[in-house]
Symmetry: C4
Subunit: 255 residues, 4 copies
């Protein structure tokens, strides 16, 4: 089985596209930001990525149909640059698969002529702040001045885990410029404020305007959905775990 | 080593076959249902599937011979459709192997011209009910009306884990219709009532009649077998674990 | 890297060879038995098997040189049948690797024209007995009578884990006859008595005589070595674990 | 994706090179020693090795740019022998990957005509000593006398884990001579004294002189950096873990 099964829905002609990654991570900051931005811009889904390195599960949608967990690419035609959004419900579930998936996404990026990647995430501090700082890290020292002009703070130290880090690190080996924007966040809560701070900086850099009104609501909805659905899922998970122990203890009970 | 070693016992000509999956899961609901149905119909084993992604163990049968753990396919010649039952003692033991095994089963399904897959499972609620609801989820919105007519309830939310989910999700990418039937169940007990509820719905859809008398007994037998065998296995497991720790602590004790 | 790196020391001509497996397992019963038997017979090492599925470690020998952990094959020229002993310090460390290693050993067995495999192990009961029963399980029902005549007890139920099970289960798929001899044992101690019981049965079947005097001593030596070496290793392991946590907590401390 | 992505910065002509491995391990003894030695000698980086078997993370450097975690080779032109230093922030993160990475490094060593490998590490004793002994283990009995003359102590027993062991064990299968030098150390602290003891022995064997003044400072700096950065990282890690549990509990919260 391939590392990634790519389902192409459309093959848009893209003009000097920039990729914006918003997979789930700390405080869901990056995911909230990317999901909100693609919704506001009306970006269009053109690729679905399925992989054995994502959790082995399907979601049951509101209409009773199912959806295999995946990553998705949406595009938006901009003035200067077109944008490609990389979003999804999960990141790769093993350390090795993080690398494999990031490599595949970089393969796709190359085919799509992506010139630059912005990865979005949170920087967990354990504290709560009204005005979250947006920290930056980049593959290209030459870009720092411009990014600082948009209010992004560069300070050394720390590390970036998962896709937000690897797309930069592995991209660098291929000569793709990358920037990670990290919104200051508590770490244990879904943080719309931090997502907003990131989006302000990102839209300033990209010279795009988007409405932020729905962002707070999106975070609330997400929170509500999570607590509702959470109960069902958690009950299922408990049952699965119990069942597995049960079966493992008694592997020869059948027939 | 191949993902799956296929041992073909017979190559039946099958007429528009429908696959029914009943691997172990929550409350053993799906497994009990499928095992009972294939027994009642007198379905015939025609394929054995062995895999390094199943646990590394053999069972000792009553006659002193051994059986390597596997998945099996049985077929039954019906009026409208022939049926293929997918059953086994285990599911793949890693998330990735869940995908790999489901893909292999879908490869086989294609060769066997399977047009539709029913996956059977339990939906753990943590509560006990006398009249378990059968919940459904499907790859094809067009099928919902017919399924609701058979008493199956569709409501959004939640997720389906393992083979019951992946055969649908990965099958959908290949254009195979799939339905998951989930019997409401406590989650921590072997639930014949829930299996019965599923079978009532499934046989109604398939227009087949089967006797349910033995189902309750099967669940009891399973329970009894499990508690008897469980003691031996559990003692073995404890010993293995201890031994492994022992060996790991002292890797250089030999020679 | 290959699943197994085979280092051939000698290519003996073997007459109708029977393989005896004694890798570490419950009570070290199988390992003790096989190691003692090959020592007593003066069997000669002819193959070393190295694998990335064994632990990543070397042992420091008494003379200050090192030995990469491995599995080894020894042969002994018998009257009726030659014997091949499969021994080693470890089994494969993941479920999947258990399958991969057993397949490789069966590949080798085929090349060596092995007609039958005896796998040796312990059956952990949690109790202590003066006269340990030897339980059997086999791939070939036709062999049971002969084995029972040597005092081996066949009763259904339970499972065999690891190489002792898989060599039989996977061997069966290739048409190789296999028998597992399991000595009754407590499970948490190194059990020379149980190893002796197995050897009595095995040598009776094979019509070979070996001296058992040194077996008790071998178990004592093993125990002593383990407790001495155990302290050093355990200190190293603790340090490694601490270090790893340390490093993981602070991945960016360098440069 | 390849086991290792090799980025070649320079292709130096090396004269009879000896490899010195100092990857992180017990007490960071080997890493401290190798890092200090290459700094003092002014060794020059000529190869970077990236791998999906290293942790999926990038470090944020002081200037705001990022660095994908890797292993690196530096060379130094000596009188008798040139030296190649193998250093890095991490070892392979799974047992199997330890083998795969060591094999790749040995492939490179062969291309670079490495004739001998010194691996550096700590031997954790749980105690603190003022004059740490340097213990040795080797692939080649013939080398012991010379090594003992440099004050290295050979005593049997124990095991060597990870790259320091495998480079010797796997190298032995390819006919490459190897020596492991293990500095006596507590195991739970970063130990400059033990690193110094190793370096004294190693430089004596190699007939090289290096200044040790900065070594103590390097250990202190490392300790300080670790405790500073540690707080940030640890907060991030906590947040990631929480987030992952959160997401796993509620896999269907999106859209």
């Amino acid at each position: 089985m391939e590392t990634v099964i790519v389902k192409i829905l459309e093959e848009p002609e893209l003009n000097n596209p920039i990729m914006v990654e918003g997979l789930p991570g700390i405080g869901l900051v990056g995911k909230l930001a990317a999901d909100h931005m693609l919704d506001e811009l009306g970006a269009k889904k053109f690729m679905e990525l399925y992989s054995p390195y994502l959790p082995p599960q399907v979601m049951i949608l509101d209409d009773g149909t199912i959806k295999l967990v995946n990553m998705e690419l949406h595009y938006w035609k901009g003035k200067k640059n077109d944008l490609i959004f990389l979003t999804g419900e999960f990141q790769g579930i093993t350390p090795e698969s993080q690398y494999l998936l990031s490599e595949k996404i970089l393969d796709l990026s190359k085919k799509l002529n992506v010139s630059k990647i912005f990865t979005l995430g949170g920087l967990g501090t354990g504290g709560i702040t009204e005005e979250p700082t947006v920290f930056g890290a980049t593959t290209n020292k030459g870009m720092i001045k411009e990014l600082e002009a948009a209010g992004i703070v560069f300070k050394g130290g720390g590390a970036i885990f998962g896709a937000s880090g690897l797309l930069l690190g592995l991209g660098m080996l291929r000569g793709i410029d990358g920037v990670c924007l990290m919104g200051e966040t508590h770490g244990q809560i879904i943080d719309a404020k931090s997502a907003k701070a990131i989006l302000k900086a990102l839209t300033k850099i990209l010279d795009i305007e988007i409405d932020m009104t729905e962002l707070e609501k999106k975070a609330e909805d997400t929170e509500k959905q999570m607590s509702q659905v959470g109960k069902i899922i958690s009950e299922q998970k408990k049952a699965i775990k119990k069942q597995q122990e049960f079966i493992e203890e008694t592997p020869s009970y059948i027939r």
